[in-house]
Structure formats: structure tokens, C-alpha cells
């Protein structure tokens, strides 16, 4: 089972938006679980990556909890009290720690969502998700995609190189020999990669990109949209009209610029009915959660642990709406079961590419 990358993109954007929108830790856990299950069924990640994700997640939770405990001095359950030092002085409460965990959870859910996109959708297709008008942005996307695995490999090399100079990292200052070569090396790698992309034809020509009327229209579109936005806040409908007009101009410019860029596709993953269902279920989940339906407990979307820590509320209808997002996981489970009956599991990735090749 393989979804079109555009359908995946919609799913990821919806999950990411809801992860930011719904601040209830129970919903955050559901969204986190959805992303991790999607990775489980659609991507193959090495165990070091899994353990790195776990370490980063624990680090985020810990840092967020400590940060909140030290800087937010509200709550009825007081653990202890720090002297009146600037900023961090005052009571340390269970509520602030719980709030820290809640915020950390939101961040981890977001990271997991984008990790799902990064691991499930091949780099080739991720680059193609960037509109043709923004070819230069594709360089940035590629650098971003390769950054984490490359940085991990580079860090291992630097750690080895510094160890042979007798370096034993203990305190914060001892990280300088690792961080500096890592930063400089990362920049150099990004430069080399972009140079390689330029040499292989992936760059928009200045002449193609810089038609004067387009630039003027772009500025005019942005300016109109901005004024429209301000007017919409102040006066309502007339502002929205201007905002839409500005937005339309921007879309037209992007489409026009994109049409001038000629690109073909080596492996075109067809759009199927399941892709339509994935997009439909994702958008349905989004609308169900964010629209002001009287029957859906919107209050349950937020969670404030202050002043007294209490269990977050769970509304079954919100839960059901989020379950709509599990469509790709259900499909993945079904495919996995069928696949397990027929072939070895580690042939999965190759066979999907082979399938596409044969289908051509």
C-alpha cells in the first residue's frame, strides 16, 4: 500500500495543525501515536534513529518541565520554595511541571509528525512537493531532509576525531570541540550540496525569475493582502475582499512562474481512490475538530493545569474525529497482514519500487 506524496502531505499538515491546536495532552498522545504508527507501517527506520528520537523526546520533556517549574510559580500543589532569586525564585509547583510536560508533548507530537513525512515520503517526492515556482526552495528542502541523518554521521566522526586528541566531554564548555566542527561542517556540506544541485541543473535562472512586471505584481499582491488583512480586523467584509484579491494575485503569479519551469517526472505515483479517501478523512477530521459545532466539546481541546491539577477532559466526539486520521494506519495494517502472508517483510521497500516500475 502506498499513498501519493501529496495525500501524505495533507495528512501530515492536518496532524501537525491539530497537534498545535489541541493543547489537551490526551489528544496530543493520540496524535503522537498516529504519527509513530504511520512510521511503523510505512517506513523503515534504523534502531539508532528510534533511540535518538526517544532520547530527544525525553530531553524535551525534561527540559520543558524544568523550565516551567523554574519560571512559572503558580499552582496549589507546592513541592518546595526557592529563595527570591530573580526570575526563578518562588514556589515550585506540580501544576507548572505538568504544564511543562504538556507543552513538551505538543513539541514531540510535532517532531514525530514531520519525522513521519521525512521517513515515509521518498526524498525525490518531497522535493517535488515544492511548487515549481519555488525551485530554489527545493534546495532548502533537500538540505533539511538530509540534515539530521548527515549530522548524526558527522557528529559520530567528530566525536571519534576529538577522542583521539584525548577529549573527554564532561561539562558544557567541553562541547565546543564537537559543536564548532559540526556547525562549520554542516554549513560546508549545505554549500557543497547546493553547488552540486546547481551543477546538475536544479536552479532557476535569474533571467527567468526576475521579470519586472511580475515582481511589481508580487509586491502589489503582498501589499494588497496585508492591507486587506488589517482592514478585515478593523472593518470586516471589505477587508476580506481586499485580502482575497491580494491572495488571488499571489496565486496567479506562482502558477504563472511554475508553468515556465519545465520538469518531468521519473516515477509518477498515480493518484488513486485511497488517496482521495486519505485527503477526505484528514480534512473531515480537521473540520470536525476546529469548526464550532455545538455538540463537540471544544473546551476539551484546551487544558490548563492551573491553579489546581486535574485530569484532562476527553470528549468522545473529538476522539472519534481524530480516529478518522487513522485511515492510513488501518490500510497499512491490512497491507502488512496480506504482505506477511506472501513475502518476507524486509523486501517491502524494494518491491514497492519494483511494482511501480512494472506498472510503467
Amino acid at each position: 500500500m502506498r499513498f501519493n506524496s501529496r495525500a501524505w502531505m495533507v495528512w501530515v499538515l492536518v496532524v501537525a495543525f491539530l497537534a498545535m491546536f489541541a493543547r489537551n495532552p490526551l489528544y496530543s498522545i493520540i496524535l503522537l501515536a498516529l504519527s509513530l504508527l504511520a512510521i511503523q507501517y510505512y517506513a523503515r527506520i534504523e534502531s539508532p534513529v528510534r533511540s535518538m528520537f526517544l532520547q530527544i523526546s525525553l530531553g524535551i520533556l525534561l527540559f520543558s518541565a524544568i523550565y516551567h517549574a523554574l519560571f512559572i510559580h503558580i499552582g496549589d500543589h507546592v513541592l518546595f520554595e526557592l529563595p527570591q532569586w530573580p526570575l526563578i525564585g518562588g514556589i515550585i509547583t506540580v501544576e507548572a511541571i505538568a504544564d511543562g510536560f504538556r507543552n513538551g508533548l505538543v513539541l514531540i507530537a510535532l517532531i514525530a509528525t514531520f519525522m513521519a513525512l521525512n521517513t515515509i515520503v521518498p526524498s525525490r517526492e518531497l522535493v517535488r512537493l515544492v511548487p515549481a515556482a519555488f525551485q530554489d526552495l527545493a534546495v532548502v528542502v533537500l538540505i533539511a531532509i538530509t540534515y539530521v541523518p548527515e549530522t548524526r554521521r558527522h557528529l559520530r566522526r567528530i566525536r571519534e576525531a576529538q577522542a583521539i586528541r584525548g577529549h573527554r566531554p564532561r561539562g558544557f564548555r567541553d562541547w565546543r570541540p564537537l559543536i564548532l566542527p559540526l556547525l562549520v561542517g554542516g554549513l560546508e556540506r549545505a554549500m557543497r550540496l547546493s553547488e552540486a544541485m546547481v551543477a546538475r541543473g536544479h536552479v532557476s535562472e535569474r533571467a527567468e525569475n526576475s521579470r519586472a512586471p511580475e515582481r511589481i505584481l508580487l509586491i502589489a499582491g503582498l501589499f494588497t493582502a496585508l492591507i486587506g488583512w488589517v482592514m478585515a480586523i478593523l472593518w470586516g467584509v471589505s477587508g476580506y475582499i481586499l485580502l482575497s484579491l491580494g491572495g488571488l494575485v499571489l496565486v496567479l503569479i506562482v502558477v504563472r512562474k511554475g508553468r515556465r519551469v519545465r520538469r518531468t517526472s521519473f516515477v509518477a505515483v498515480p493518484w488513486t481512490a485511497t488517496d482521495t479517501i486519505l485527503v477526505f478523512t484528514s480534512l473531515a477530521a480537521l473540520i470536525l475538530v476546529i469548526a464550532p459545532w455545538p455538540v463537540i466539546g471544544r473546551l476539551s481541546l484546551s487544558y490548563v493545569p492551573y491553579p489546581l491539577l486535574k485530569m484532562p477532559e476527553f470528549h468522545p466526539l473529538v476522539g472519534l474525529a481524530l480516529i478518522l486520521l487513522s485511515f492510513p494506519i488501518l490500510m497499512g495494517m491490512t497491507t502488512q497482514r496480506d504482505h506477511d502472508r506472501m513475502t518476507e517483510p524486509d523486501q517491502n521497500a524494494t518491491s514497492s519500487r519494483e511494482g511501480i516500475r512494472q506498472a510503467r
Binding site: R165, R200, G201, R262
Partner: protein
């Protein structure tokens, strides 16, 4: 095919121009060798052929470059990408995507090649470069040689008229390098492909190239047919065969060992060695400084080292050679504790060091990895040395040689306060060497120390090693550079698929090897002559 007129180029904020008054003309189907010392402007010249200079790098440019009638500076890299294929020095640097097939399709998609044509071209290139079985492989799982072939495949798939290669063989073993060069010659002949190649190891390329362009300080000081050009080259920068030929005044100058044999009339001098390259241990005196016994190491289920036993003695220089992926770098990492062997033991001066801390081992065993930049982070060269001393809790008074003296020996005194990353490749290599040898270790392990270095830099490095060896420091050197091994090492180990298959005196091992054989050993098989001096001393007047 390529027309360059009065080309001058300066990088942004550079004091001196990188290229100065270059005028030359390259015909369709020519094979050009671009040579010169490090920092002479070779890579800049290459980048000016596809417009990376100045479109990507910025800076100021004068003069014109035309490739296939296209004004490079006017049209830029995108337009040129279908005409000039560019292979960078480091194949890892140019992998854009993560799967072999996608990588090949990347350029074609950008050039809007139709899907059917794309499949045809990709299949063809995969077939030619023997990469068909790897089409679905993740690029990170490929070996160095495979990556280099992929890098070349990804530009050839564009069917360019010119291919520009920046030291494409620097990471390859002699066999892979020879295969790659033969393949390029085939393309040059059959496709009429114009090849422009930067290479420091002239002995590898001289026989294939039609013409040599030699750059010094940004100026084109030599633009001659290969044979004539080599005759005019500084002897130090010439391949051994050329130096020997010049010593004995052979005319015409031989570019291959076959031509050399004819010139020297040496058929009767040829002494054939036995086919079997399994050698016995070299009989050396004194206790070994470093010793391993039955060393095994695996990455997961893949066995990389399978029972490696070796010794290095005081003052001895031992070369460890082998094909790409034979386990050489893994062995060095095991020796300093960066990797833990699955079986076997390692002794340093009679004491087992298995399980010891890397930092403790490296006080006695210095290790210079392939990429010196991973070591350097300080604000100045002298600070790099101080930091290593601090790491080992040493102070300069405890050393027999002060950091200043070491810098002098490394020819870095003038750069003591310079920012290390601003220095040239050879200088950075020496700074990194200084940073690992400042605690005065007994053994020095070097992993490809001459990669990217010109002849002069190599010679200076060898002179330095000689001084240390006289002081009793042992060297274990991993390299693909057999000419370097011939000149600098007493003993050679050949590692093949994790097993030491040959161990003996340099002359004996290299002479009996089919792959790791210097030029003069091929010219005088069985003679034991590896260097120009050996040959001159050995045959002297007989040849003249």
C-alpha cells in the same frame, strides 16, 4: 569544444586572482589532464567550464569562456548542465537524493527529459557502469568506489559533451582507479566525450591524456601534448617513469611501462616473480611496539576483520594497503579503541590495551583520520596543539620538544596564529598531524594522509616522517598511493576482505602484487626497484 579567452577570475574579497590571463582551446573528444600544485586554481578552472564560477561563487571575472558555442558566463550553470557534466572531488558531496535510481533521474527531471527517454538512459548508464544491481540501493550503503561510479553515472546520464572531473580517483584503490580511467577512455573514444580531469597522481592518468594543462598561481604555465608537457614539467612533480626517462634521456618520452620497456630495451633484464603473493613475516629485530593477534571485527552480521595479526616496531614504517572496503580504516579504529574487536587482542609495548580509554591509548598511539577538518576547531594553529596537551593533562615542560619546535618541524611556524580552517589542504593536514603527535606518541597511524596533496606537499610530509622514524617512532600508514609506499615504507601488509594476505618487505610485496605495484616495479619486474633512485642505482650506465 571549449574556447577560453583571457580568463581572469578573483573570488570575493580575495587579494590575489585565482585565475590569470588564461587562454586555451580544447578540441571535441580531447582528453585533458589539468595539473598543478595545491591552490594553483585547478578546481576554479574546472568550475569556470560550467559557470559555477562566477554564477555560484560570485567574485569578479574578465574574459570569455565558450563551451560548445555557449557563452558560459552569460548562460550560467543551468543551461550548461546538459553540456558539461561535473564530477566533484568528494562523491558524497554531490549525492542529492538517497536512492541510486532517483539520483540518476534527478538531473534528467530538471532537464525535462521525457519519461521513456529517462528510463532508457538510466538503464544504459547503469549497465555501462555495472550499477544495475544497485539501482534500488540506498546510497549510504555503497562503498567509496561505487559512490564514485554513481557520481560519474549521474552526470553521464545527461549525455554531456564535456565531462569535468575533480580528482575522481583520489579515494579509489589502484584497481578501481584504473577501471574508472579505462572506462573514461572508452567513453572518450566511443562517444567523442571531451574529458577535462584534475589529478595529482600523474602516473595514473598520463598514459590516457592527450594534453596537459599545468597551472601555477592561477597562470597556465604549460599547455602541451602529454609527452612534450611531461618533458617540461618540474621533475619533482613528474611520474617516476618520466623522471627515469629524463635521467637517461629517452626520446620519445614513454608514457606507459610498455613503452618504457621498449625504450630501455629491457626485455632481457626482466625477472619474473612467482605468482603466489602470500608472503612470510618480515624478520625484524626488537620487540614490537604495537602488536595484534587474531583480531576480528564485525558490523552487525558483516565480518570486516577476520583474524588480523600484525606488528609494528620502533622506527619502522609499515604500509597497510588493500582495495576499497577491505577493512583498513576499521583496523586503525580498532587499534586506538574507537571500535571494540569481537575477538583477538592488541598489545602496546607488551601490555594489552583492549578496553582502555581511547584518550589514554592515543597518548601513545597517535591516529590521523582521513578528514583533518574533523579535528580542527580552535582559533589558531598553536591553540590546537595546546588543547591536545590540556586534554592529556600534559604541560610543555614535560615534552622533549616544545610546541613551537613541533610547529617548526611541521613548517607551520609562520602560521602559528592563523585560523586553521583558512589554511590549504596540505597545511591543515599538518596542523591535524601536529594536534595528534604533540603528546609524543611511540606509534603514528595515518589514514590516507596524502589525499589531495601535490608532490611537493607529499615530499615534505615524507621528510618529516623520516625525522620521527630516526627518533624511534613507528608508523602504520593506510594508503592507496603505491608510489608513496614505495618511497616511504619498509614493510607492506595487504589486507583483503579483512584478512592479511601478504606481509613482507616493500620491494618483495609490491613486486609480487598485481594491483599494488608502482610504475617502476612494472617496468622492471622482479628487480626489486621501486623508485627512480633504486632504478638509477641499480642499472646505472647499463641503460645509458
Amino acid at each position: 569544444m571549449i574556447e577560453i579567452k583571457d580568463l581572469c577570475y578573483s573570488y570575493p574579497k580575495a587579494e590575489n586572482p585565482a585565475l590569470l590571463d588564461i587562454t586555451t582551446h580544447i578540441e571535441r573528444g580531447e582528453f585533458i589532464l589539468l595539473a598543478g600544485p595545491s591552490g594553483a586554481g585547478k578546481s576554479t578552472f574546472l568550475r569556470s567550464l560550467n559557470g559555477l564560477v562566477p554564477h555560484y561563487s560570485g567574485g569578479s571575472v574578465k574574459g570569455r569562456v565558450f563551451v560548445d558555442g555557449i557563452d558560459v558566463f552569460d548562460k550560467g550553470p543551468r543551461r550548461l548542465s546538459s553540456v558539461v557534466g561535473f564530477v566533484f572531488q568528494d562523491p558524497e558531496a554531490q549525492n542529492v537524493l538517497d536512492v541510486v535510481e532517483d539520483e540518476l533521474a534527478f538531473g534528467l527531471e530538471n532537464a525535462a527529459v521525457s519519461s521513456s527517454q529517462m528510463h532508457q538512459r538510466i538503464d544504459e548508464v547503469l549497465n555501462i557502469l555495472e550499477l544495475t544491481d544497485m539501482r534500488d540501493r540506498q546510497i549510504t550503503t555503497l562503498s567509496g568506489g561505487e559512490r564514485q561510479r554513481l557520481a560519474i553515472a549521474s552526470v553521464l546520464v545527461m549525455k554531456p559533451k564535456v565531462i569535468a572531473l575533480d580528482e575522481p580517483t583520489s579515494q579509489l584503490d589502484p584497481q578501481s582507479a584504473a577501471d574508472l580511467l579505462r572506462f573514461l577512455v572508452q567513453l572518450n573514444d566511443e562517444w567523442g566525450l571531451t574529458v577535462v580531469m584534475v589529478e595529482h597522481r600523474l602516473e595514473r592518468v598520463a598514459r590516457y591524456a592527450d594534453r596537459i594543462l599545468y597551472l601555477e598561481n592561477g597562470r597556465l604555465t604549460l599547455d602541451e601534448p602529454m609527452e612534450l608537457g611531461l618533458a617540461h614539467l618540474d621533475p619533482e612533480g613528474s611520474p617516476p617513469l618520466v623522471r627515469l626517462s629524463r635521467t637517461f634521456g629517452w626520446d620519445p618520452m614513454p608514457l606507459t611501462t610498455t613503452e618504457g620497456s621498449k625504450q630501455a630495451g629491457l626485455a632481457s633484464l626482466t625477472i619474473h616473480t612467482p605468482e603466489d603473493s602470500q608472503e612470510t613475516l618480515y624478520p625484524v629485530s626488537g620487540d614490537p611496539l604495537l602488536r595484534t593477534r587474531d583480531l576480528h571485527f564485525s558490523y552487525g552480521n558483516e565480518a570486516v576483520l577476520r583474524g588480523v595479526t600484525l606488528e609494528v616496531r620502533a622506527g619502522e614504517a609499515v604500509a597497510l594497503v588493500g582495495k576499497n572496503g577491505s577493512g583498513k580504516s576499521t583496523l586503525l579504529k580498532c587499534l586506538v579503541g574507537l571500535l571494540e574487536p569481537g575477538r583477538g587482542d592488541i598489545w602496546l609495548q607488551g601490555e594489552s590495551i583492549l578496553g582502555h580509554d581511547v584518550s589514554d591509548i592515543c597518548q601513545e598511539v597517535a591516529f590521523l583520520p582521513q578528514n583533518p577538518d574533523d579535528l580542527l576547531f580552535a582559533e589558531s594553529v598553536s591553540e590546537e596543539l595546546e588543547i591536545t596537551l590540556q586534554n592529556h593533562h600534559l604541560n610543555p615542560a614535560q615534552l622533549s620538544r616544545s610546541p613551537a619546535e613541533l610547529l617548526e618541524r611541521l613548517e607551520l611556524s609562520d602560521y602559528a596564529e592563523s585560523y586553521p580552517r583558512d589554511l590549504s589542504v596540505g597545511q591543515r593536514q599538518r596542523v591535524a598531524l601536529g594536534a595528534v603527535v604533540i603528546p609524543e606518541p611511540r606509534i603514528v597511524l595515518l589514514d590516507e594522509p596524502t589525499r589531495g596533496l601535490d608532490y611537493g606537499a607529499k615530499r615534505r610530509l615524507m621528510d618529516m616522517w623520516d625525522q620521527w622514524r630516526k627518533e624511534g617512532v613507528g608508523f602504520l600508514l593506510v594508503t592507496h598511493d603505491v608510489e608513496l609506499v614505495a618511497r616511504a615504507c619498509d614493510r607492506v601488509l595487504i589486507l583483503d576482505q579483512g584478512v592479511i594476505v601478504a606481509d613482507g618487505p616493500t620491494a618483495k610485496v609490491l613486486d609480487s602484487s598485481t594491483i599494488f605495484r608502482p610504475q617502476l616495479s612494472r617496468l622492471f619486474p622482479g628487480s626489486g626497484w621501486l623508485t627512480v633512485n633504486d632504478a638509477v642505482d641499480g642499472i646505472g650506465d647499463r641503460l645509458s
